[in-house]
């Protein structure tokens, strides 16, 4: 189980990077995932450079396969990231959707 304190600490930072636009620097699609992400596979992950040059990883959601390309414009959004157990706190984090 992920410590709820860890999630709380991380989520204080997440609000600062929501609603930011950027471009995909590189992408992949994960077919073989770790335990917490297995139920979501396959899922694409992108590395995005925001307009302020900050680089952020996140999964791409609400996408079509044609959106999976370097240079694609995206925006950061808040989404559920994972829940490791039924009793654990649900972790929310940054994902991206195509523009």
């Amino acid at each position: 189980m992920i410590s709820p304190i860890k999630i709380w600490r991380r989520q204080k930072e997440i609000r600062k990077i929501l609603g930011k636009k950027g471009k995909v620097l590189v992408w992949t699609k994960i077919y073989m995932a770790g335990s917490d992400f297995k139920k979501y596979a396959p899922y694409p992950v992108v590395l995005v450079e925001l307009e302020n040059k900050e680089k952020i990883y996140g999964q791409l959601v609400d996408y079509r396969d044609t959106d999976l390309k370097i240079g694609k414009e995206v925006i950061s959004i808040l989404r559920k990231v994972r829940s490791s157990t039924d009793e654990g706190v649900i972790a929310y984090g940054v994902k991206f959707k195509p523009l």
Binding site: R10, L25, V26, W27, T28, K29, I30, Y31, M32, A33, G34, S35, D36, F37, K38, Y40, P42, Y43, V45, L47, K55, I56, Y57, G58, Q59, I70, V81, R82, A91, G93
Partner: protein, 383 residues
């Protein structure tokens, strides 16, 4: 002068009847027997292991090794993800530099197949940054990002990458200790399912169990008594950001370049002098990047050069790469890999590599990487 005088490795594979410390014991006793050494003659032990604490709540391995060997000397464990073995070797070599007349055991071991692939993948992900873990990025995902960028930038295809796996599986077929001993074709690789686009199952090293050990000495009397001896010309470690995104150039591993430059300078030899190399091919793209970053191939040309298969045994190339089968076919028990690579070079330089023996080699190189390139170790050996 520091020497390697012996090497023993267990078979690599899904060894369900063996625990981590069964494998450690087999490797330790095997290498001691090979050198006709008693455990009482050992002055220190260095142990490379990544996952025992993460997967099986199994730490303080140093005293477990003391219990196995019935010794009370200094024993140290190193952890640097997949470079745990290479770093253990580097620390042992540094220890020799500081202490005269010592005999040292360096062992790397990992037990990975007691768990589901998802559990092991999660354990391995501990070596990625927190942000990478939270995005659901696995190590195959991180190397897939590097592969995607490399293919797009230099106009290659997935087929270029596949040649690495074909070559290394051929080498694995010649190594009786290898996890996989089956030859594969380009079509086999291209038709295998994706693990992380554009990397497929047959672009990827397997999850393996295994242990490998070497004896190091700077005791000239002990060295003279041994049948096989190679000289450690250099062992250099370099580091970089844990997160791939922190790197200036995403399709190269700077730690490899830095460690290689330092190692060649210290060894006082040139790239052209190396006849055999074991490079870190955790994924097919990793061998191509390694060949470029080590300075054997020019940047961006690796995708084309690998198709020539000049680095394949039997093709009369000047440099043969991953004769053990590499991580891809010999297997990748994480902590053992760095020691197995050095051991394979030892076998080649001492003409003990049997069916895969490369002729007339005087110098060999081993290259071990941790994570997506946060640590790199380059070791150069000579006879």
């Amino acid at each position: 002068m520091n020497y390697i005088t012996g090497y023993y490795t267990t078979r690599f594979g899904e060894l369900w009847d063996k625990s981590l410390f069964d494998l450690v014991e087999e490797a330790l006793r095997g290498v001691l027997k090979q050198n006709n050494l008693e455990s009482s003659q050992i002055d220190a032990v260095f142990f490379g292991n990544m996952l025992a604490g993460v997967l099986e709540n199994n730490l303080h391995s140093t005293s477990k090794i003391a219990e196995i060997l019935k010794i009370n000397v200094p024993i140290f464990r190193s952890e640097a993800a997949c470079a745990s073995g290479g770093v253990a070797f580097n620390l042992a070599k540094t220890y020799l530099d500081a202490n005269p007349n010592q005999n040292i055991l360096v062992i790397g071991a990992e037990k990975m197949t007691d768990y589901s692939p998802e559990e092991t993948i999660t354990g391995l992900s501990a070596a990625a940054s927190g942000e990478e873990q939270e995005a659901g990025l696995t190590f195959s995902g991180l190397y897939a990002m590097m592969a995607n960028l490399y293919i797009e930038k230099y106009h290659y295809t997935e087929e270029n990458l596949a040649y690495v796996s074909v070559k290394n599986h051929y080498h694995g077929s010649l190594n009786e200790k290898a996890h996989f001993r089956r030859k594969i074709s380009i079509e086999n690789v291209l038709q295998s399912p994706y693990v992380a686009y554009p990397l497929k199952v047959l672009d990827s090293s397997p999850i393996s169990d295994g242990a490998s050990a070497v004896v190091l000495t700077n005791n000239q009397d002990i060295a003279k008594k041994q049948k096989h001896t190679v000289t450690i010309l250099a062992s250099e470690v370099a580091t970089d950001t844990i997160s791939l995104k922190g790197r200036k150039n995403l399709e190269e591993i700077l730690a490899t370049k830095n460690a290689a430059d330092k190692a060649f300078k210290k060894a006082k030899i040139n790239r052209e002098d190396i006849g055999v190399a074991e490079v870190h091919d955790c994924f097919s793209i990793a061998e191509i990047l390694a060949m470029e970053n080590l300075g054997f191939w020019k940047k961006g040309q690796g995708g084309e050069r690998i198709k020539e298969l000049s680095t394949m045994y039997g093709n009369n190339g000047d440099l043969i790469v991953n004769t053990s089968g590499g991580l891809k076919a010999a297997g990748h028990p994480v902590g053992a890999t760095g020691i197995k690579q050095i051991g394979e070079i030892f076998l080649q330089l001492t003409k003990q590599a049997e069916k895969r023996q490369v002729r007339n080699v005087k110098y060999g190189l081993a290259h071990n990487v941790g994570g997506s390139g946060g640590t790199a170790v380059v070791t150069i050996l000579g006879i």
